[in-house]
């Protein structure tokens, strides 16, 4: 079942003498419990295959993601932009993994609605020659319906750094609906 913005069940206040019908039993009890149990919007994608992203010296969108789950079809896998299906608080996690470099700082951030929104969820890391560089961030974020959010990365090497495309150690992007 795909949850759409119209079917987060609304609380129903029962009146004295009101007889529960099958219809409102299904709406206000079955559907109402099913939503928090298993129908909350969730998206999980990673660069497990495909072209990856070339992370530049300016903030660069994490693109070319492969979906593992996307309950509401909110993610544009090419651009890496997630569009919120329901208004509410989401737990959003992003990670960027790039190929080894001898002297670069890399950073990741969450970017909402094409603009800076304090607080900037932001993490950095310095890289040495032998190791892949990885940074991740997790944040509670309010998204109105149809708000967009994406993961961005940047590096200080003076050139571009490719993200790692890998089944185990790739960059990823997750959103999970927490609460209205």
């Amino acid at each position: 079942m795909v949850v759409t913005p119209s079917n987060i069940p609304a609380p129903h206040t029962w009146a004295v003498g009101e007889i529960p019908t099958a219809a409102n039993w299904n709406s206000y009890i079955r559907d109402a419990f099913n939503f928090p149990l298993k129908f909350r919007p969730i998206m999980r994608a990673a660069q497990t295959s495909g072209a990856g992203t070339s992370i530049g010296g300016a903030w660069t969108d994490l693109t070319n993601l492969v979906v593992e789950v996307d309950s509401n079809a909110g993610l544009n896998t090419g651009t890496g932009v997630y569009t919120s299906p329901n208004a509410g608080w989401y737990i959003v996690t992003g990670s960027v993994v790039v190929v080894p470099n001898s002297n670069a700082d890399i950073a990741v951030r969450l970017w909402q609605n094409n603009s800076f929104m304090p607080p900037c969820a932001f993490a950095t890391r310095h890289m040495s020659t032998a190791d892949r560089g990885q940074v991740n961030v997790t944040k509670l974020v309010y998204l109105a319906a149809n708000d967009t959010i994406r993961i961005q990365g940047v590096n200080s090497s003076g050139g571009n750094l490719a993200t790692v495309v890998d089944t185990l150690e790739s960059s990823f992007f997750e959103t999970f609906f927490f609460s209205q």
Partner: protein
């Protein structure tokens, strides 16, 4: 923003032959569903104009002076969160340091004065960038306990927090303790 009720609906055990009342439907069904969907405790505070100078090799509270959401009025003006409901919380935090030379920076959570196991640590070079260090942990918090975010570094000199955003501390309630009874 409305403040949610600081309680969790308590689900009673039904008896054979018990008549279902509107009161039961509202407290046992409506309020329970409403809690799961919209009223679980959650809070987010961040540094907007607050800042701090971190001494060398000394864990220091990250000042958080702005609030995005605080359903159970847990945050004080310094960004210390006191829980109204016992349970497991996903705690998410980040401290942002001003650009400086190469050294390590870290963050941790402190629960009622005791460090929570698990830190996040990064090194960052002198590339002119601010350095953000983030950490996420599931933390068991008892009602009345407080939790805060602390930052650390080993620069050998003082380092300032980012003046336009010292960091953030977010909490999301996930579950009561298994042994909880009302």
């Amino acid at each position: 923003m409305a403040t949610n009720f600081p309680k969790i609906p308590y689900i009673k055990t039904w008896a054979t032959g018990q008549v279902l009342t509107a009161g039961d439907m509202n407290t046992q069904i409506r309020d329970t569903v409403d809690f799961f969907t919209a009223r679980k405790p959650h809070a987010s505070a961040y540094g907007l104009a607050s800042s701090v100078t971190y001494n060398d090799n000394s864990w220091t509270d990250v000042p958080l002076d702005a609030i995005s959401v605080d359903t159970h009025s847990g945050f004080d003006s310094n960004g210390v969160y006191t829980a109204a409901i016992s349970g497991w919380y996903q705690v998410m935090g980040c401290a942002i340091f001003t650009p400086d030379s190469a050294f390590d920076r870290g963050v941790r959570f402190v629960l009622d004065g005791q460090p929570v196991s698990g830190i996040s640590l990064v090194d960052s070079s002198n590339n002119g960038y601010s350095t953000g260090v983030c950490l996420s942990r599931m933390v068991p918090i008892v009602a009345g306990q407080n939790i805060r975010l602390q930052g650390w570094h080993n620069a050998g000199h003082t380092v300032a927090s980012e003046p336009t955003g010292a960091g953030y501390l977010d909490l999301a309630f996930f579950s009561q303790f298994y042994s909880y009874t009302a």
